[in-house]
């Protein structure tokens, strides 16, 4: 078979996965068909319900990118303060990092050579 990928522990076969996925989808569809049948199109049933309030315009309704994952950034505020610090956008700092990392690598390689 050209689809089986051996990874040492187990194998991975996308064809089997897709077949399993299709089977699960068929079962899901089967359950879905057993649901309510009174739904009517183009009536109040299909409209957005927002606690009985007026639904805002399309421009206001969309959740913009700045508001997504607010809690995530709030929790990791400390981390982001630290990680944003080197991202200065100044070209001189970029080269400073290069010199520093090269120096560290040279020192590590030389010390590792001495230890032998």
């Amino acid at each position: 078979m050209t689809s089986i990928l051996e990874s040492g522990y187990a194998f991975w076969n996308p064809i089997i996965w897709i077949i399993a996925f299709v089977v699960v989808m068929v079962i899901v569809y089967f359950f879905r068909r057993r649901g309510q049948k009174q739904y009517k199109k183009d009536t109040a049933q299909a409209r957005i319900f927002l606690c009985g309030e007026e639904v805002p315009e399309a421009g206001q309704r969309h959740i913009r990118v700045g508001n997504i994952y607010w809690g995530f950034f709030e929790t990791l505020k400390e981390y982001y303060n630290q990680v944003l610090r080197p991202h200065t956008g100044i070209i001189n700092d970029y080269i400073l990092w290069f010199v520093a990392v090269t120096a560290i690598s040279v020192i590590v390689l030389l010390i590792a050579g001495l230890a032998k």
């Binding site: 089986i4 990874s7 996965w17 700045g66 970029y94 990092w97 040279v106 590590v108």
Partner: protein
Amino acid sequence: MAALITHSPILIIAIPLLAAFLTLPIGMASKKARNALVIVSLTFVAFLVFALARDISINGIHIYTLGATSPDLTTPTGFMVPVRIILEVDGMSILMGIIWSIVSLAAAIYSLSHIASETGQNRFYTLLLLMVTGGFGMMFTGDLFNLFVFLEIASISGAALIAFRTRSADTQEGGFKYIVVSAIAGLMVLFAIGLLYAQYNLLNIGALAQVIQYTTLDKIALALLLIAFAMKTGMVPLHLWFPDAYSVAPASITGMLVITSHACMYAAFRVCFTLYGGVIDAPVVGWILIVFGLLTMFVGVTMAVYQKDVMRFMSYHAISQLGYMWVGVGVGLAVLGNPALLATYGRDAISGGIFHILNHAMYKPLLFFTGGALFHYTGTRDLTKMGGLAHKMKWTTILYIIGTLSISGIPPLNGFSSKILIYESVFRFNPILTITGIIVSILTLASFTKAFHSAFMGAELPEYKEGKEVPKSMIIAMMILAAGIVFITLFPSLIVDWAIHPAADALIDQGAYINAVTGAVP
């Protein structure tokens, strides 16, 4: 046909070069003829690359000597060592070549309409084809100095292309940062080459690998080469220029820049495995790669979640994905001196890393192209101004979903097959690496969901009511890459057996590379 295959390594490099200088005179006469020339030459190059790949899978390493009386005469009569320019194409090089040929063709097709409204298009295609030349040269050369020359060709043309749209300040800033970083990295590579030449009087990689000693100067040269190439690749903490340059380039160029990044990564692997393979202090260098790889994965993805500019956000993801490759290949390098461990999981780890290069080269340009399509439609890269675009851009949405699922490693897409190879082999080396990898994968999915929601989902916004889906050539370019993703998804084992394992073996087997140059019987 046989002659074509014999000469194909140099033809692959020279045909884009020839076409690059033909675009200007032809473009002055007719735009259509110029576009046809670009597409036809790149298609022909792609055909040659595949023919060469087939030849290499049958006959092994392909050697080409420039200017010799016979292309396989590496050491001229009367000389002890190879002195001519030698191209040496093995399993790893040709895999990179296949990637580069597909992506550059897709990028050229994408450019046809993406930059259709700009001035100076003749120059654009000249630079694009020069960049193709530089990339192929880096991948195919068997000579350290040529590596430097082709690296500079790719860098200079890349920087000019990043700054191609001169109307806004940020493109100039991105191009400037890119060229400064490339120039300094290139000069450090040259310095390291000088250090090696001073001791051995050789420039050929195979011949150097035979005599290299790992003295103190060699260690300094190794560190310089490794870190300079790593900076060009965008390894944290040397990644700072990466989003600045990648986010402002025309989207087609950003897709190609990702592959030049991989070419630099290939050069770093070539230096570690082939040039220093016999003498390297493998665990130390391997751990350096692993530590920086973990940092790259984690910092890249957390910075990506934070971004609000669509191209910048994808650039940070490119950085993060590069970390997987460093970790995979780094683990393989760390156990290089131990044949038992290498056979148990080292080879699988290297294969996983290389397979991830192939997969990343398919889905990341696709995602950049969709980002470019969003820019084409809305005229902005700012995600806060977007919304509800799925109503108008149906094809782009579907292609974006394919790319997203693939980059996040959702089964059954191709990102999953390479990530599982990395996870399961790396787990036996150190479980922390796998755990970090999975966390990074989850964060990747989370951030792409965020971008998907803010750009495509939601009701149709009033400012984007007008407008059509992006032009056909852009869709076709994205389709080519999506077709690649689907093919790798369905036949992962075929790809691994045919392309990835030969590439991994080419890296591990230093002797074959040396023998191909020095002419000893393998």
